[in-house]
């Protein structure tokens, strides 16, 4: 099964995950500082900075794009409850 590596910069942990895993499935298990609200891509609480490797995430849906825009999210940020890891190496930290 293809794997990917996600580094949570704020706690210095790199996790090997199966491709297709969402950030929300990993970050709380390892104790990273990304916090969650609605958990369904609406409230923008889990806004996360993609430090590097953003190209390895599945592109945001129209709904995620709208939420990011309405909440004035800077470029290079995604919702952790939506962002799906496809492969490669990704580094993230709370917004």
């Amino acid at each position: 099964m293809p794997k990917a590596k996600v580094t949570f910069q704020d706690i210095g942990v790199t996790v090997t995950v199966p491709a297709g895993t969402r950030l929300i499935e990993v970050s709380e298990k390892v104790g990273a500082g990304i916090t969650y609200g609605c958990r369904e891509g609406e409230c923008c609480t889990c806004l996360t900075k993609i430090v590097s490797g953003g190209e390895h995430l599945a592109p945001p849906s129209m709904l995620e794009d709208q939420v990011l825009k309405d909440n004035l999210a800077p470029r290079g940020h995604r919702l952790a409850c939506q962002a799906q890891i496809l492969g490669g190496d990704i580094v993230v930290k709370p917004a």
């Binding site: 390892v30 104790g31 923008c44 609480t45 939420v67 004035l72």
Partner: protein
């Protein structure tokens, strides 16, 4: 309520500016969590320029009649060009759907985050949304001789909040900021009863959790020439309005004097039935202290009530909670403390849990789940020990404390793990 000074008319607060809100004198409980000793008011305003009329916020739905009656004394619906929404909570947007029906030509100005809330509010009407324009700081609307300038002041106390400044008159429409639940039909702060208790209480319960945003907003507000502050609840502040700006700055500035300014702080709370959780707490505290760079405090919750620790919790960088497990749960004073944190911002603080147990030890996991729910980060797994901790178990508590100190001071070693290894 004191003898009626108001009629059903709008009240002029400045040339071309009228209050058209509603009084709610019988309300005794607001939003479930606040008490209101003499009720509240929902303040809405009309600003008239040469080329247009603006309505700033509306009122709670069941007071819509009062609002429309007052509004009709100073404007015709077809004259309304502009509706400004400083805040979309139902106590201010209750009459909005009907207002939009009566003035369909009006353009709505709101903050970027308010757009989603506007669509949700209008959902039940089935009507298409009006023309709405998201605005931010320094965007303006020209009414002809009256200019409205917006200030982006989010999270006071919803993500959608903003302020509107009427340049020519120096009037700042602030939404819930500087508001309070106080009902007095004399309307102005220099003529109403003493509302200081209400002003302080409102800040403490509504704005305090967002104090960093308060400071951001005050920085935008202070440079303005302010002749009058017109909030969405309570008295209109026409006499010495800057005093209220100053008071918010005072209230939003950290309360406890911290002698150890450069150090991070870790507060360890515990309860202990037979001294075992206490021993764990002491070892944890010692471990954290041993690393250096962290100021550690240790408190037995049996000796205090939740309220007295609120200031401390607000300013701590890390919080550790020790509880025995009794009847498969953590003990009530821990839950009482964790339930009393809605007035402060704990998001992003470091959290941890530990405890001794006899039979099943559920408390630690339950506390950790609650800490994550409160949006603390829990980077180190909690520690459960059966009955009396032996030497190696106390060493594990010291190691936990040291790990917490490492996380607080950014001295964590990098780790690599596989997701399959975690629960």
């Amino acid at each position: 309520m004191v003898a009626a000074a108001l009629t059903d008319n709008a009240v002029e607060i400045a040339p071309g500016v009228h209050w058209v809100g509603a009084l709610d004198p019988h309300l005794r409980s607001f939003d479930i969590i606040l008490k209101t000793a003499n009720g509240t008011s929902y303040n809405s305003y009309v600003v008239r320029g040469e080329n247009g009329v603006a309505i700033i916020d509306t009122v709670k739905e069941n007071f819509a009649d009062d609002f429309f009656r007052r509004l009709e004394t100073v404007a015709k619906y077809e004259e309304i060009t502009t509706i400004v929404l400083n805040h979309l909570e139902p106590d201010h947007s209750g009459a909005l759907p009907e207002l939009l029906k009566r003035a369909p030509q009006a353009k709505v100005y709101l903050s970027s985050r308010a757009q989603m809330m506007l669509k949700a509010l209008l959902k039940p009407t089935g009507e298409p949304p009006p023309e709405y324009i998201p605005v931010t700081t320094d965007d303006t609307v020209d009414l002809g001789g009256r200019t409205l300038r917006f200030l982006h002041t989010p999270y006071l106390h919803w993500p959608d909040t903003q302020c509107t400044y009427l340049e020519e008159e120096g009037i700042l429409f602030t939404g819930d900021i500087f508001g309070c639940h106080f009902c007095d039909n004399r309307l102005f702060n220099d003529t109403v009863g003493d509302f200081r208790f209400s002003f302080e209480y409102y800040y403490a319960h509504i704005m305090r959790p967002f104090r960093e945003y308060v400071l951001d907003a005050i920085a935008l507000i202070e440079p303005l020439d302010i002749q009058l502050i017109a909030p969405a609840h309570g008295p209109v502040l026409r006499h010495k309005p800057r005093d209220y700006v100053h008071r918010y700055r005072e209230l939003a500035t950290p309360r406890l004097f911290n002698e150890a300014r450069s150090e991070k702080t870790l507060v360890v709370f515990y309860l202990s039935a037979y001294g075992n959780t206490r021993r764990m707490a002491e070892a944890l505290a010692a471990g954290a202290e041993s690393l250096g760079g962290v100021r550690v405090s240790l408190y037995d919750l049996e000796g205090g009530e939740a309220d007295i620790f609120t200031d401390l919790v607000e300013e701590a960088d890390g919080l550790a909670f020790g509880s025995p497990t009794i009847n498969a749960d953590a003990v009530k004073p821990i839950w009482d403390l964790l339930s009393s944190l809605t007035t402060v911002n704990v998001k992003g603080k470091l959290g941890a849990a530990f405890g001794s147990y006899g039979w099943s030890g559920e408390a630690v996991r339950l506390i950790e789940d609650r800490l994550r729910g409160l949006k603390l980060r829990v980077p180190v797994e909690g520690l459960r020990i059966k009955l009396v901790p032996d030497a190696s178990e106390l060493e594990a508590c010291r190691a936990l404390g040291e790990q917490l100190a490492r996380h607080l001071t950014g001295r964590v070693e990098h780790r690599e793990i596989d997701l399959a290894m975690l629960a």
